[in-house]
């Protein structure tokens, strides 16, 4: 940014009126205005700069200069010697496949890896406005089915892999994405129900939303892991992963319902009245007039809510499901690697950050874009 101003100042033709003194424009001027505008500001800048530089040097030393990148067959002595001064990235070199794919059969790791790519591709395609058309839903169904096929196998010569062995990043993506895919329709129904003028339906929706939003996700996950089996008739069993997935769907449904309701409320009353005046039935009014506009309004907060779920899926650690975070923690159980938690957490954190940061930047730009036509 500062460079641009500098160049602009330099290319001013000689004949032009005298440019402002160098202390007012350009890098120096910018710095004077933004970093050293008064003695307090100057002090703050200097103190912060000092700490940042110190910290950055320390971090670079720890993470790169003194780091141990690999060790031969679990001989972690080199790492232990470097403790406190250098990072032990050898733990990541050694365990990265486990952190990413958990206990999935080793020679079949290409399958979850492909699934992760499919998920990312699905997100990217869904993010592009030019693909926002009805067929996108079919793409979702297709891709999710393909992911299911890849993970389970049992066809096309791929050996069957039971859910107990799935793990790592792909579980995080499955829980979050399937959670969204199923919670979204549920949320629309609940949001409509909450604004309905049928008292019984409204009451049910209010109770559902408030009940779920009033308790922590952990209690729902506990419920799914220890209470849910008691709810089913004898002999009927539901897999642990699916039970957690149901808890996440119910949880996400309540929060998304509030987001959708926000969109419904933000719609001008005139839209409702106009639809009524046209004599449209409730379903036509909702399907053709209200929802298309309301859902468009809620896309940015929807992405933000999705970021929240994406992070919250890490809570399945507590009920022992092998998501990315659990796999990371399990990787450092082995005695040889105990005590290198910081390195693993930084790596796992970086993966979460890449996903969440991309989504939050996307949501911000989308918000700006969607608001553009409203700002005249």
């Amino acid at each position: 940014m500062s460079d641009v101003t500098l160049n602009a100042a330099a290319t001013v033709p000689e004949a032009a009126p005298r440019s402002a003194p160098l202390t007012e424009v350009g890098l120096v001027g910018w710095a004077r205005a933004n970093l050293f505008s008064g003695w307090i500001s100057t002090a703050v800048t200097l103190v912060l700069a000092y700490f940042i530089i110190r910290w950055a040097i320390g971090f670079v030393d720890w993470a790169f200069v003194n780091a141990v990148w690999s060790v031969p067959n679990n001989q972690t002595q080199a790492c232990r010697d470097a403790r406190g001064v250098g990072a032990c990235w050898a733990v990541i070199t050694e365990k990265h496949r486990f952190i990413l794919f958990g206990t999935y059969p080793y020679e079949e790791h290409w399958r979850p890896a492909l699934c992760v790519l499919l998920f990312v591709a699905l997100y990217v395609v869904s993010a592009m406005r030019r693909f926002w058309r009805p067929s996108l839903a079919l793409v979702w169904v297709g891709v999710l089915t393909l992911i299911g096929l890849l993970m389970w196998g049992g066809v096309l010569g791929m050996p069957y892999v039971p859910q107990e062995r799935w793990g790592g990043l792909v579980i995080t993506l499955i829980l979050a994405t399937f959670g969204l895919a199923f919670a979204f329709p549920l949320a629309i129904v609940v949001a409509l129900g909450r604004r309905s003028n049928l008292p019984a339906i409204k009451a049910i929706c209010v109770i559902y939303v408030e009940l779920i939003r009033g308790v922590p996700l952990i209690s729902l996950l506990f419920m799914a892991s220890v209470m849910f089996p008691l709810f089913l008739p004898e002999g009927m069993n539901v897999d642990k992963l699916l039970r957690a997935q149901i808890a996440i769907i119910l949880f996400a449904g309540a929060y998304l319902a509030e987001v959708v309701r926000g969109g419904l409320q933000a719609l001008p009353k005139g839209q409702y009245e106009a639809a009524d005046a046209l004599g449209l039935s409730y379903w036509h009014k909702t399907g053709f007039i209200i929802l298309p506009q309301a859902l468009r309004l809620v896309i940015p907060p929807l992405v933000n809510t999705f970021i929240g779920f994406f992070k919250d899926t890490s809570l399945v650690l507590i009920i022992g499901i092998f998501d990315l975070l659990t796999a990371g923690k399990t990787a450092i159980i082995e005695p040889a690697w105990q005590g290198f938690g910081v390195e693993v957490y930084l790596t796992v954190g970086a993966i979460y950050f890449v996903f969440c940061f991309a989504m939050s930047k996307y949501s911000q730009s989308l918000e700006a874009e969607l608001n553009r036509h409203r700002v005249r």
């Binding site: 169904v141 299911g148 199923f182 329709p185 892991s225 004898e234 069993n237 997935q245 005590g339």
Partner: protein, 351 residues
């Protein structure tokens, strides 16, 4: 814009379709124990035993690098499967945490719980499960870092102690501290791995659990000699195999599989010599056990050669012990046969 209504319809339809496609895959409603009293038939018709094991405890149940479960507890799963199907590989292992183990059994998610679980009165009654047999006599102890200079648990007054919550271990610890006036600060972490790493990191002065567990943890450390297991044993911990309550027939199969392993050791029947002994051992009890004489297997509702299958698959009790627990430094001690002084493992007669 008008596309959106259509989009909504299709999206909902697609979601429903997705549901329909995925649900049956995930929610495999297993051909299930139709009534709690009939696990045996349910297991048979399913063709697979579902066995609840620990999430990972060296020597007892731990997946190896190929993901195959190895250990004392998982060998019991294989033995029961061999007794029922004649094939030890017909087992599905479900790793269970301390918290979900009982509900998993109650709900029918697993058929049998073989997960270092202490047999207590309240668990036997109000928790809705039955213990079939004590497979391992254990006791609770303490482990400290050798550098701490502690030689006896009584010296632990004022210490911070790591303990897993919701276990008998936790209750024993409080009982013992009251009786011996040893004050302590607990650190309670649900997940065993985290608890152990808290102890290793020095968050606690001592770590308490069953001695077998202490030995397993100690042997897994890079320098086992840095850790000391204190001499005091503060409780009885009979680790037993559990089944659902009111399921007498299945409990019999589990119980007698255990007795079979003991008797086999007593009579010297091993994995290596079982075929030969079944053919030509003259002792009447051996002949009865191995199905050459009588119908003992049929009485249990099993194949008459069940014993041969079990021993072929896993060996006798002593062999299971030697394979899994001796390498991590656990002595036979009270788990020796009754014929050895101090041994508690005793099988009723096969008759």
């Amino acid at each position: 814009m008008p596309h959106f209504g259509l989009f909504l319809k299709r999206a909902l339809g697609a979601a429903a379709l997705g549901c329909a496609m995925l649900a049956p895959g995930l929610a495999q409603a297993q051909p299930a124990p139709a009534a709690a009293s009939n696990t045996f038939d349910a297991v048979r018709s399913r063709g697979q035993l579902i066995c609840g094991v620990n999430t990972g405890l060296a020597g007892f149940a731990q997946p190896d690098s190929q993901g195959v479960w190895k250990g004392f507890d998982s060998d019991y799963c294989r033995a029961i499967a061999a007794a029922i199907f004649g094939d030890p590989s017909k087992v599905r292992y479900v790793p269970t945490t301390a918290q979900v183990r009982f509900t998993a059994l109650q709900s029918g998610e697993i058929d049998v719980l073989s997960r270092n679980t202490t047999w207590t009165l309240s668990r036997d009654t109000v928790l809705g499960l039955d213990f079939a047999a004590t497979t391992f006599y254990d006791g609770q102890g303490f482990m400290v870092k050798a550098s701490l200079g502690v030689k006896s648990a009584k010296e632990l007054d004022g210490a911070t102690i790591c303990v897993q919550p919701g276990t008998t271990t936790e209750q024993n610890l409080t009982d013992w501290s009251r009786a011996n006036r040893v004050r302590f600060t607990p650190v309670v972490i649900e997940r065993l791995e985290e608890l152990v790493s808290a102890y290793i990191a020095g968050r606690c002065d001592a770590y308490t659990t069953d001695i077998s567990g202490l030995a397993a943890t100690r042997s897994a450390q890079p320098k086992p000699d840095d850790h000391l297991i204190l001499p005091e044993v503060i409780s009885k911990e009979p680790l037993a195999v559990g089944v659902r309550q009111g399921d007498a027939r299945f409990a019999d199969v589990v119980r007698w599989t255990h007795y079979l392993l003991l008797s086999a050791e007593e009579f010297g029947i091993t994995q290596a010599n079982v075929a030969q002994m079944a053919a030509n051992d003259p002792r009447p009890e051996v002949q009865r056990i191995l199905g050459k004489n009588g119908e003992l297997g049929k009485m249990l509702g099993l194949d008459n050669l069940w014993a041969v299958n079990v021993i072929k698959a896993v060996g006798n009790y002593g062999e299971i012990f030697a394979r899994n627990l001796t390498p991590i430094g656990i002595q036979r001690g009270p788990n020796a046969l009754w014929t050895t002084p101090g041994g508690l493992q005793y099988s009723p007669p096969f008759r």
